[in-house]
Amino acid sequence: MYLDYIRNFSIIAHIDHGKSTLADRFLERTHTVSARELKDQVLDSMDLERERGITIKSHAIRMLYDAQDKHQYVFNLIDTPGHVDFSYEVSRSLAACEGVLLVVDAAQGVEAQTLSNLYLALENDLQIIPVINKIDLPSAQTESVKHQLVELIGCHEDEIFLTSAKAGTGIDEIMEAIIKYIPPPQGDPNAKLQVLIFDSVFDTYRGAISFIRIFNGTLRKGEPIYFFNTKKEFEADEIGILKLKKEPVQELRAGEVGYLISGAKDVSDTKVGDTVTHARKGAEKPLPGYVDVKPMVFSGIFPINSEDFEDLRDALEKLTLNDSALSYVPETSQALGFGFRCGFLGLLHMEIVQERLEREYDLSIINTVPNVIYHVYLTTGEMVKIDNPTQLPPPGQIERIEEPYITAQVLSPPEYIGGIMKLSQEKRADFKSTTYLDPSRVDMQFDFPLAEVIFDFYDKLKSSTRGYASLDYEFNEYRPSQLVKLDILINGEPLDALSTIVHQDKAYEMGQKLCRHLKEVIPRQMFEVAIQAAIGNKIISRQTVKPLRKNVTAKCYGGDITRKRKLLEKQKEGKKRMKQVGKIDIPQEAFLAVLSMEKED
């Protein structure tokens, strides 16, 4: 049976533990790619990803492995994104596999993402092969990492594979283990068609390209197909397998992994996790596990030059072709004019979008302080979801506000427990539990308001633990909190783009910090600028930027009026990079005040 010779698996690892390097070795050993072809790391294709060292978009690759049993096996290696913002995508990629290699850095040991990925794999009932990588490192602590793994997954020490992906040692053993321990896929090529989309990308020429795993039935080129979730019908224009390039085939059978091009224009038609079946005589039910991922973090994105508004819209539209998790709706700010309120999976996702807008689309944008979705219960009994602080109803109409909490897992050497506890308290965390994975690693669980984590928690955690701690989190629930809206007034006018929703106990300090920071970044102007922080009608802090005292050149250079005029024009040009709010010129940095301010202290 052909199924016996297929293995579908993933490599899961904490960032930088060597996932890509190990994948490269497999590609070489199976002659899928020659060492020369192998640019650094084949599986990561976007520049941004490479720079950040994070695989954002997962893909798959098919290899042919001639095993010691003289049979040839098809290995489908399915890559997974490596950041908590994208954990749903990871879970779908894992759903396409029967097993995983759990790779842990011999010098770093188990980290938060190792755990979260492991849990995702366990949820999907996958076979786990533990691998310790980088054993060549002088700082490798292979024995202690072995203990951690034994503790964690209950395996035996001798079931753990040791490798140096860099040097290429231990690779064959792992490849044999894949055959031995990871079960072949199951499924019936004659049953009704059930195809899982585990990833989707947008291609300018081809439209949406889906990466798929066939669970049941057989998909043939040209067949009409139906997408359960979007309820759309398309045709299987092209199907194929994924080598280094796409290779079209006539059919894909149960158990196989490949791609599908269907005429769907963008990735919102081919959502990750959706099930595809035949348009006629299709399966009754989709595969389980589909979730419509919802943005968790929101921020306003405004063009610095208002003329760029349409370009920004185009750019966002193009980005969503490839990123169904990004949402945007037009927003008007008194301060910043026309822009968009965008929703992101998390802070990293937000930063990536921002960066792509600036780099790939050459736009100058201001993005406002990110916030979460609040559930606001009104005195009328109604509940409204607020993703923009300016839309918060007046306090009199509010019965209570609930904010999203996450469950966070922090893994760290025990000596940093004190620091982590302190930081967590500052961030309004509820401490849940501490578990020692081994004497050198503790696993601490907290419930955090998501709003606190999206600011700078991660940076602070890293710095207070010298980089040793790692963090992972997932959404938990909405809980009531004492939240207030903090407004910033410039000469009495609210600067809506700077309004934030903060916890009552932190409002005063935050107001002060913000005012002080704004005072630093707003240059002196024609008249005095009063910066105030207010909760409702109550001013809680004030700073003033004194008026400019003198800005005049004395002489007009004889008849050289041109020179003088050009100087003034240049001055004006310089101001263009600022936003005019009322009569006040406000530099861009001001709108990021909250973020940068937090980073400073």
Binding site: Q525, M526, F527, P547, L548, R549, K550, N551, V552, T553, A554, K555, C556, Y557, G558, G559, D560, I561, T562, K564, R565, L567, L568, E569, Q571, K572, K575, K583
Partner: protein, 383 residues
């Protein structure tokens, strides 16, 4: 002409020679005498080239000999120059002929001859009456010499004299500035220009500032100096009429400089000189060798020409107008630009008035002293 202002054209001649380059100087001038002998003849050739290529029919009523150091010219040279001008340009009988003079290179004899040749207004580059400051500035004369040269000028029956002073000199104090102002007042010139020192890129001052050897006096001090200047000179009955210019009476306003501020046509000759004519502005090259080369090859030594479109002209009109104490003549503005000033810039005008940075009556919109101090901040907002 109560304000000594007319709509007749002006003529500027740039004499680009100095005995020594001042530390702060940003004007085009050279200290070598390479082209010194032939310079006036080059000037005449340049004027001829311009007269051939441009139709010049206006009536002129100012000649301004600036520099550089025009007082380095010989009697003979000034004679030739003025003769040529009289012959080739239509001159008003009542022409204001100003010459900038340097107290360090002046003889009594020359003065007398200049007066005889028709120069009727002198602008003396005193800059300061404090020796230390003169040294810092790199001037070639001391305070005593400056004082005596103004007296000498008076004795040669010049009845329209201007003094140039500079404030914001590194090391200057309010007391020392007060002293210079008082000495100037004691000499009773008809006109005083008090410029705030600007440390321009490319000057020795600039380099020294970067090296930290000299320190600009800073916003706070400059504000004080400015106020002190206005107060002191007003008290001595000098009337401020532009940010840096004061006169004992409106009839002593610089007729020539006002042409720059009110878009009245002027022609400039000599390297780096600027012209404004028929809604075009052009400038000559700021290089002696380029200037010589072009003229010897029968070409005008132009660095650039630009057309001043309506929008640009309007902006210039505003920023120049707001440097004057009269301010912007609202009726004239409307006539020239086809739209009421107030209706076009309503919001900005309101906020300036509200913040006492400007005031307005039936006929004029002008900056207050407070506004004038930050006019470079205010005027770009009219763009």
């Amino acid at each position: 002409m109560p304000f000594n202002r007319s709509h007749y054209c002006g003529l500027y001649i740039h004499i680009p020679f100095c005995e020594h380059k001042c530390e702060y100087c940003d004007f085009f001038s050279v200290t070598d005498n390479h082209h010194r002998q032939t310079f006036v003849s080059l000037l005449l050739q340049e004027m001829e080239l311009t007269l051939q290529s441009t139709h010049i029919d206006g009536l002129f009523d100012t000649i301004y000999l600036g520099g550089g150091t025009p007082s380095l010219l010989t009697e003979h040279e000034v004679d030739i120059l003025l003769q040529f001008i009289l012959k080739h340009f239509r001159m008003d009988t009542n022409t204001e002929i100003t010459m900038e003079i340097n107290p360090g290179s002046l003889t009594d004899k020359k003065l007398a001859s200049f007066r005889r040749l028709g120069v009727n207004r002198l602008n003396v580059g005193v800059q300061s009456f404090v020796n230390n400051e003169l040294k810092v500035l790199g001037r070639i004369h001391d305070a005593d010499k400056a004082f005596r040269s103004v007296e000498a000028v008076r004795n040669r029956s010049f009845d329209n004299i201007g003094l140039d002073l500079i404030y914001g000199v590194p090391g200057q104090t309010q007391e020392s500035w007060q002293y210079s102002l008082s000495e100037a007042i004691r000499l009773q010139p008809e006109h005083i220009s008090a410029y705030n020192l600007t440390i321009e890129n490319g000057t020795p001052f600039y380099d020294r500032m970067l090296k930290g050897e000299i320190k600009p006096s800073g916003q706070r001090m400059e504000t004080l100096f400015f106020k002190q200047t206005v107060d002191t000179l007003k008290q001595a009955s000098y009337k401020p009429y532009e940010i840096s210019n004061y006169a004992r009476a409106p009839k002593f306003y610089s007729r020539h400089n006002q042409k720059y501020w009110y878009h009245i046509p002027y022609l400039g000759f000599g390297p780096s000189a600027h012209s404004f004519w028929n809604e075009k502005r052009w400038a000559n090259k700021s290089s002696m060798s380029d200037y010589v080369f072009d003229i010897e090859n029968g070409q005008r030594p132009l660095a650039f020409t630009e057309s001043i479109d309506d929008e640009t002209k309007e902006f210039e009109y505003i920023f120049l107008g707001l440097r004057t104490y009269d301010g912007i003549n609202l009726q004239k503005f409307e006539e020239t630009f086809g739209r009421a000033f107030k209706s076009k810039y309503g919001d900005l005008v309101d906020s300036l008035l509200l913040n006492q940075l400007a005031d307005m009556d039936q006929s004029f919109f002008r900056l207050t002293q407070k506004g004038m101090m930050i006019s470079d901040e205010i005027t770009p907002k009219f763009l």
